[in-house]
Structure formats: structure tokens, C-alpha cells
């Protein structure tokens, strides 16, 4: 058992190292001179020379990588080339925003997706099943930036119900925070709701045919009780596991949503940074996201083994 976990952790290390190399290379590959962007409209030659020196642009690539890796190991992700603010501080500022968006989207997706999936499975083959499937498929097919634009057009521009953009921390003003995040989380949560619905449906269909459900039915329990007590609970387990993994993808999916609604989160920061060639920020954000993703997967793997007796026996 311990050996299995140890093995998983050991495999994660080279993966992480490869991530750092990719992240670093990715930025070095970007065309355009970040220094010229930084130097501003006036492009003072002295400023340009100073900046090149300061950001070690004159050193060989491998040294640039090692310097960077050394700093990363010490928890220093450098400072933004554009604002001079430390990248770790920027991430600390932005991460909660994106997490809030992801959590709200997740809640939206679960509230819509799971009941719809259950209903669709219970009423398999009826009109409601078809309807739910069509809606789910639409949710998967709609480009979420377009959905965002349409919502802004309808709800903000025409009806004036919700702010078109902006962000407020829930600790400062919970109501406004909820208002500004409502549309973005619907946009981001739509595809997820669709995925959850489809998984819940198939998981539920599987459980409904399982022996213990048949037994429960045979015992003469009411169908509603059977579904609620026996089927639903068991069907939910794989869905919850899936949700955990999806959470990581939500963080990534926030890129365009944040761009559309001008939400100062992770995704907007990384896109802005790519366009401004703010290397330090791009590297920091991608590194943190990728590391988080690998860790979540590692945890999920381990949990899966710990919780699943059959798997435990196999190892």
C-alpha cells in the first residue's frame, strides 16, 4: 500500500520537472520583445539596456532556466515585468477570485446537472429524457464566450439587471459579489452541468439495474424510496469523484469567461500576461495551475485506492 503511494509520488516528480521545462520553454518561444513592450511608448535606449540586464536576457538560455528554477524552489516566482508586483502576491490575489468563480460554477452545475441526470435516468426513453439530453448537448456545444456575450447583451445591456463586469470580494460586499459572479458562473458552469447530467444519467442507469436495487424493489419498497435511498446514493459516488477532477478543469476554463466579464482572476491575468509578454506572470500561473492539477490527480488516485477495497486488495 505504502509502496503504491510512494510509487505514485515518485512518478509525479519527473512530470513536475518536465512541466517546469515546458513552462519555461513556452515563454522563451513567444515572439515579440518583452523589453520593447516594457519600455513603453518613449522607448528610452538606456531603459531598454537596463531592462535586458535586469531580466538576464543576455545570459544563455540554460542559465536563465536554472536561475528561474532555483528561485521557484525558494518560492520566489519573480516580479511582474509590467507592474513590478511580486508574482506570488499576484497569484495570492487572483487565485481566490477564480476559486470563487469555480465554486459557484460547480454549485450551479451540480444543482442543474445532477437532478436532471437522475430524472432523465428514472424516466429513460420519455420526452423528459430526450429534452434533458438535448439541453445537455446544447450546453456542451455552445461556445461559452458567446453565451457570455449574449447574457451581457440581454441581462446587462437590455434589461440592466446585473452588472456587466467587475468583481467584489465576498468578504467586503457579499451581495454585490454574488451579483457580479452570477452570470460568469452560469456561463462557466453550463458545460459542466451538461457533463454532470450525462454522467449522473449513465451512473444512475447502471445502479438501477444492480441487484440490490432489484432486491429493494422486490421487498415492495416504493419506487421513490428505492431511488432516493438506494440508487441515488450509490450513483452519486462516481459523480462526486468526477466533480473533483472537473474542478481542476474549471480553473483552466475560466480563461475566456474572465476575459469576457473582466473578472480579475487567474485566467484573465494569464491572457493579459501572454499579450504583454509578461513572462514571469505566465510562467508562475501555468506552473501553479499545472502543479495543482498534478497534485489533485495524485490525491484522487490515492483516495480511489484507499476507498475502494477491491483495488486495495489488488495491490
Amino acid at each position: 500500500m505504502t509502496r503504491y503511494i510512494l510509487n505514485r509520488v515518485l512518478v509525479a516528480i519527473p512530470t513536475l520537472l518536465l512541466v517546469t521545462i515546458f513552462v519555461f520553454m513556452l515563454q522563451k518561444l513567444l515572439p515579440g520583445d518583452p523589453i520593447l513592450v516594457l519600455a513603453g511608448e518613449d522607448r528610452d535606449p538606456e531603459t531598454i539596456a537596463m531592462l535586458r540586464e535586469q531580466y538576464r536576457m543576455n545570459d544563455p538560455l540554460i542559465w536563465q532556466y536554472l536561475y528561474w528554477l532555483g528561485d521557484v524552489m525558494r518560492g520566489d516566482l519573480g516580479t511582474s515585468l509590467r507592474t513590478g508586483l511580486p508574482v506570488t502576491e499576484l497569484i495570492a490575489q487572483k487565485l481566490p477570485v477564480t476559486i470563487q468563480l469555480a465554486v459557484m460554477s460547480m454549485i450551479f452545475a451540480m444543482v442543474i446537472g445532477i437532478p436532471a441526470g437522475v430524472m432523465s435516468a428514472v424516466k429513460k426513453g420519455t420526452f423528459w429524457d430526450y429534452l434533458a439530453n438535448i439541453i445537455a448537448l446544447s450546453g456542451l456545444s455552445v461556445p461559452n464566450f458567446w453565451l457570455g456575450i449574449m447574457l451581457i447583451l440581454l441581462v446587462s445591456v437590455n434589461l440592466g439587471w446585473l452588472p456587466a463586469s467587475g468583481y467584489e470580494s465576498p468578504w467586503v460586499d457579499p451581495v454585490r459579489s454574488f451579483q457580479t459572479m452570477l452570470m460568469p458562473s452560469i456561463v462557466l458552469g453550463t458545460a459542466l452541468a451538461a457533463t454532470l447530467m450525462r454522467h449522473t444519467r449513465s451512473s444512475m442507469l447502471g445502479v438501477l439495474q444492480a441487484d440490490y436495487v432489484r432486491t429493494a424493489r422486490a421487498k415492495g419498497l416504493r419506487e421513490k424510496t428505492v431511488i432516493r435511498r438506494h440508487a441515488f446514493r450509490n450513483a452519486l459516488l462516481p459523480v462526486i469523484t468526477l466533480s473533483a477532477v472537473m474542478f481542476g478543469e474549471l480553473l483552466a476554463g475560466a480563461v475566456l469567461t474572465e476575459q469576457i466579464f473582466t473578472i480579475p482572476g487567474f485566467g484573465k491575468m494569464v491572457v493579459d500576461a501572454v499579450f504583454n509578454r509578461d513572462y514571469a506572470v505566465v510562467q508562475g500561473v501555468v506552473l501553479v495551475t499545472a502543479t495543482g492539477f498534478i497534485l489533485i490527480n495524485l490525491l484522487a488516485d490515492i483516495l480511489y485506492v484507499l476507498l475502494n477495497p477491491r483495488m486495495r486488495a489488488a495491490i
Binding site: T15, L26, N133, M150, V274
Partner: protein, 293 residues
């Protein structure tokens, strides 16, 4: 099934028969057919664009800026007086091309790597698998944005960027399939009678990993079309005056309240075509699934 293969190792695998059965199943799947019709409709539009009686999609008219839909311009005109209908039709080419070409790139790179990793195992596998893990850990769209920025904004480069970003998915899928197929009896048999690696791979492994890859490819076309639209929306895809649905949306966003139609059509088109590919992909999955009858 596998017995027959072992008996006559040189004979082609049973794939053809199964394919026919799959086709029968697909034909009976109504939603897959609807999806197919959506896709076919847009493919026809894209192919026929040059011969359809529509205005030049790049022809500007200063006197007809941002006209709402009317008899002459069914879908209205855009910010410099071009006909939106004709830009939509020509834009279908960019979107479909982007979807198909980028998936072909992903297949061309991903499948061989996956086969190599799965078939040979060992260090080859370790290296490919770790690199795939590392790439998969990076958000797809961020990877595509960075690559597209690196290559410079153009439709071709957007397709390359999306294709490369989708590679890890195919590597992982192929690798898994190959690993499960290679332990099957008929492959072991082929190896026992001393067939070469290349021959085993092309004759026995590839046909068997093909169905799930086909399903994944169809679904990835849908993802790629959205990704292309996203990149064009950010200014990293198709360049003007050539039309693309994503860049039309990017422009439209500046005129949301004055000319909402500019934003509605391209989004709706993306929606329909992506829906078509998703329906088709779902149908294929059901049809090719050996477990279901």
C-alpha cells in the same frame, strides 16, 4: 472471433464486418443522423461558397454600415458594410478547416507516439507518458493561446497550435488501447509466429485501436472548432479581410448595443456545427461500442 484470426494470421482482422454492423447501428440512431445532417449542411455551404450567388465577403460599402437584416442583406451588414450572410458562409470554411485539420495534426502526432509508448513499453513509454502527463497538466486553452502567440496570428498557425495542444489526449488514449490490445491472444499469436513489429502494429494493433480514436477525433473536432473561434476571438486566428466566425464575434462585441445581429449569427453557427459533431460523435460511440447491442 480471435480464434479465426490466430488460425489465419495473414488475413485481415474482422474489422470490416464490424464496421458494417456499426454503420447499420449508426443509421438507426436518429440523433446521430440529425448531427450528420447539421455537419453535412455546413460542409456543403463551405464547399459551395465560391459558386453560391452571394456577394464577395470582402466587398465593402461605406454607405451600408451596420444595416440590420433586410431583403437585400438577409443577415445584415457589418461594421464596414460587408454582407454578413456571405461572410458567414465563407467563415464556415475557416471553422470546418480548423476543426478537421487540427484534429488531423493531433492524430498524426499523437497516434504514432501512443502506439510506440503502448507497444514497446519500458523507457520509451516512461518518457512519452511523463511528457504527456506534463502537457495534460497545462490548461488546453492556455497552451493553445501561448502556441498561437508564438507562431503568430493566422488561421494556419491557430490550427497548428490547437492540433499540438490536442496531441496528449490522443497519445494517452492510443497508449491505453494498445496496451490492452497487445496482450490479447491474437497479437501474442502473431508475435509467436515471428511477425515484425511494424507488421504487427499495422495489421493487428491499429485496426483495433481505431474505433475509440475515431470517436475521440469526432468529438475533438467539436472542441477544436470552439478553440479556433476562441483564438480568433482573441485576435490570434483567421486574419481579415478573410472571415471567421470567431473574429466576427470579436468585432461584434464592440457593437453589442448598436448591432446585436452581428454577434448573434456567428455564435449560432458555431453552436450548430459543434452540436452536429457532438451528436455524431455520441452516435459513433454507441455504434462502435462492442458491449452494447
Amino acid at each position: 472471433m480471435s480464434d479465426a484470426v490466430i488460425a489465419t494470421p495473414a488475413a485481415p482482422v474482422v474489422a470490416p464486418r464490424r464496421k458494417n454492423r456499426a454503420w447499420e447501428k449508426l443509421k438507426r440512431n436518429r440523433s446521430a443522423m440529425v448531427g450528420g445532417i447539421f455537419v453535412l449542411f455546413f460542409v456543403l455551404l463551405a464547399v459551395l461558397a465560391p459558386v453560391l450567388p452571394i456577394p464577395n465577403p470582402a466587398a465593402t460599402d461605406w454607405a451600408k454600415i451596420r444595416l440590420s437584416p433586410n431583403a437585400e442583406h438577409w443577415l445584415g451588414t457589418d461594421e464596414i458594410g460587408r454582407d454578413i450572410l456571405s461572410r458567414m458562409i465563407w467563415g464556415a470554411r475557416a471553422s470546418l478547416m480548423a476543426g478537421v485539420v487540427s484534429v488531423m495534426i493531433a492524430l498524426a502526432v499523437g497516434v504514432p507516439l501512443g502506439v510506440l509508448a503502448g507497444y514497446f513499453g519500458g523507457w520509451t513509454d516512461q518518457i512519452i507518458a511523463r511528457a504527456t502527463d506534463a502537457l495534460l497538466a497545462m490548461p488546453f486553452l492556455i497552451l493553445a493561446i501561448a502556441l498561437a502567440a508564438f507562431l503568430g496570428p493566422s488561421l494556419t498557425n491557430a490550427m497548428i497550435a490547437i492540433g499540438l495542444s490536442a496531441v496528449p489526449v490522443f497519445v494517452r488514449l492510443t497508449r491505453g488501447q494498445v496496451m490492452s490490445v497487445k496482450t490479447e491472444d491474437h497479437v501474442e499469436g502473431a508475435r509467436a509466429i515471428g511477425l515484425g513489429h511494424l507488421r504487427i502494429m499495422s495489421r493487428y494493433i491499429l485496426p483495433n485501436v481505431f474505433p475509440p480514436i475515431l470517436v475521440q477525433a469526432t468529438l475533438t473536432i467539436a472542441t477544436a472548432i470552439i478553440a479556433e473561434a476562441s483564438l480568433s476571438f482573441l485576435g490570434l486566428g483567421q486574419q481579415p479581410p478573410a472571415p471567421s466566425w470567431g473574429s466576427m464575434l470579436a468585432t461584434a462585441k464592440n457593437f453589442l448595443s448598436q448591432a446585436p445581429w452581428m454577434a448573434i449569427w456567428p455564435g449560432a453557427a458555431i453552436f450548430l456545427v459543434v452540436m452536429g459533431f457532438n451528436l455524431l460523435g455520441d452516435g459513433l460511440r454507441d455504434a462502435l461500442d462492442p458491449k452494447e447491442t
